[in-house]
Symmetry: C2
Subunit: 261 residues, 2 copies
């Protein structure tokens, strides 16, 4: 997947592969996508015990690992990173029967990665990203997810309508500080989607996202009609305008994983 | 508080003041600590509407605001920051009757700041930091909290024993992946402490923190004896070794704020 014998370039969204930096991310890539890892590179400064664990994991996955100080040093963004994996991108499609999480216009790769880490913790494996969104393959997302990016399916959609038309059976729960339901009182009926609007939105700002959903009163019915989203709030002190996106997603996923029906 | 007429130095823990960078943090400092803000400085690139809001807030707090492009540019860490507040540190003591959160050896200022933001959201205003811990006044903590650092009391303790001896009435709930109780089944009895061990701990690693609590079987009773902590787990998929600290704290605080007795 990487240019045969060529020099590995800095990451760009257009490349057919991405990089997992650091031992945790490399190990997760080898665990979840053994067939997609095309190389593991390590730097002389990787401690012995970590290198042994890494080489064993690479051998189990049938992946070539080699020392390449210059490439690791050139591509890493932090000096504390002493290894990387080259991971081929693949086309991912959300599982039809699974519960989903959808992020509309997420702008911080760190938040998307942190959210993924929590989603995996609470049993969610399918993440929709509604454009314009961060590149779900970017190394910042991978690193913030501590490599659990490779344990989930991420699919990009041009609009919220496009996502909902594709998965019309999914009941959408739109999280918003002004939501009609309190999180604790919601019974989540599978299949469902936990839906989050743009970061930094003020209370009520999710109206725009709601408006983007198909209008159920429309006389010209679009192919599959999905029900309008219920809006859900995470009750909080009014001094805080909004929780951090990754934290809202984590709390919602924690609760939904316990209130699934 | 700042050197009279002198040049403001880069932040150091030894200084009697800290900096709040960016408009959100400056506004929170003016809201929660109007008497402690000694100056607000803005850069010419601060957009007009934001500057007007900032100047109005400074005037309400009786704080001098002045344009000082050079100082803002010299002290900021990101070019997107166009204002700062100089905020005097004060001695903070945790409220005796309030519920607390205690972080043992937290090492990432970003995690502490993010945790603070969520704690304020869920009605917690008292945070104990057990050494060695990050500097709770540091600008990274302030910024990650979006200025809500100024809405809470943070107190440093030399050890977990020192904290527990000081607040012996607080029932401690120690969060650990191998905890005996599931978060959902805990009834939190005030006053209580949500207690979190070192970051990146593996399941069971909280044993060290438990061991650091006074031994209730000890024949030589220390002055006030506090009950040993109950251990609590946040049920999750076993693929993830541990949630991010800020996210664990947020989920625990969310749940405890609803299950207080």
């Amino acid at each position: 997947m990487s240019p045969a014998g060529g020099r590995l370039p800095p990451y760009r969204a257009e490349l057919p592969f991405t990089y997992a930096f650091g031992r945790f991310a490399v190990l997760e890539a080898l665990t979840h996508r053994p067939d997609d890892v095309t190389a593991v590179l390590w730097h002389a400064r990787l401690p012995d015990t970590e290198r042994e664990r890494l080489l064993a994991a690479a051998a189990r996955a049938g992946v070539a690992a080699r020392r390449d100080d210059a490439t690791v040093a050139r591509l890493r963004r932090k000096e504390s990173v002493h290894c990387l994996a080259v991971v081929a991108k693949r086309e991912e499609r959300l599982a039809e029967a699974a519960d989903h999480v959808a992020l509309v216009r997420p702008s911080h790769p760190g938040n998307v990665g942190s959210a993924i880490r929590s989603l995996v913790a609470f049993g969610f494996g399918d993440l929709a990203l509604v454009a314009p969104a961060v590149d779900a393959w970017g190394p910042y997302v991978v690193r913030a997810s501590v490599g659990l990016r490779f344990a989930v399916r991420c699919q990009a959609f041009a609009s919220l309508e496009a996502y909902r038309a594709r998965y019309p059976r999914h009941a959408a729960y739109l999280f918003d500080a002004g939501g009609e339901l309190e999180l604790e009182e919601v019974e989540f009926r599978s299949p469902f989607t936990l839906l989050f609007g743009p970061e930094w939105q003020a209370p009520g700002a999710a109206d725009a996202a709601v408006a983007a959903a198909p209008d159920p009163r429309s006389t010209v019915a679009p192919a599959p009609v999905s029900a309008p989203p219920r809006t859900v709030r995470i009750e909080q002190d009014n001094r805080v305008e909004s929780l951090n996106l990754a934290i809202s997603v984590s709390i919602a996923a924690y609760r939904a994983s316990r209130a699934r029906r």
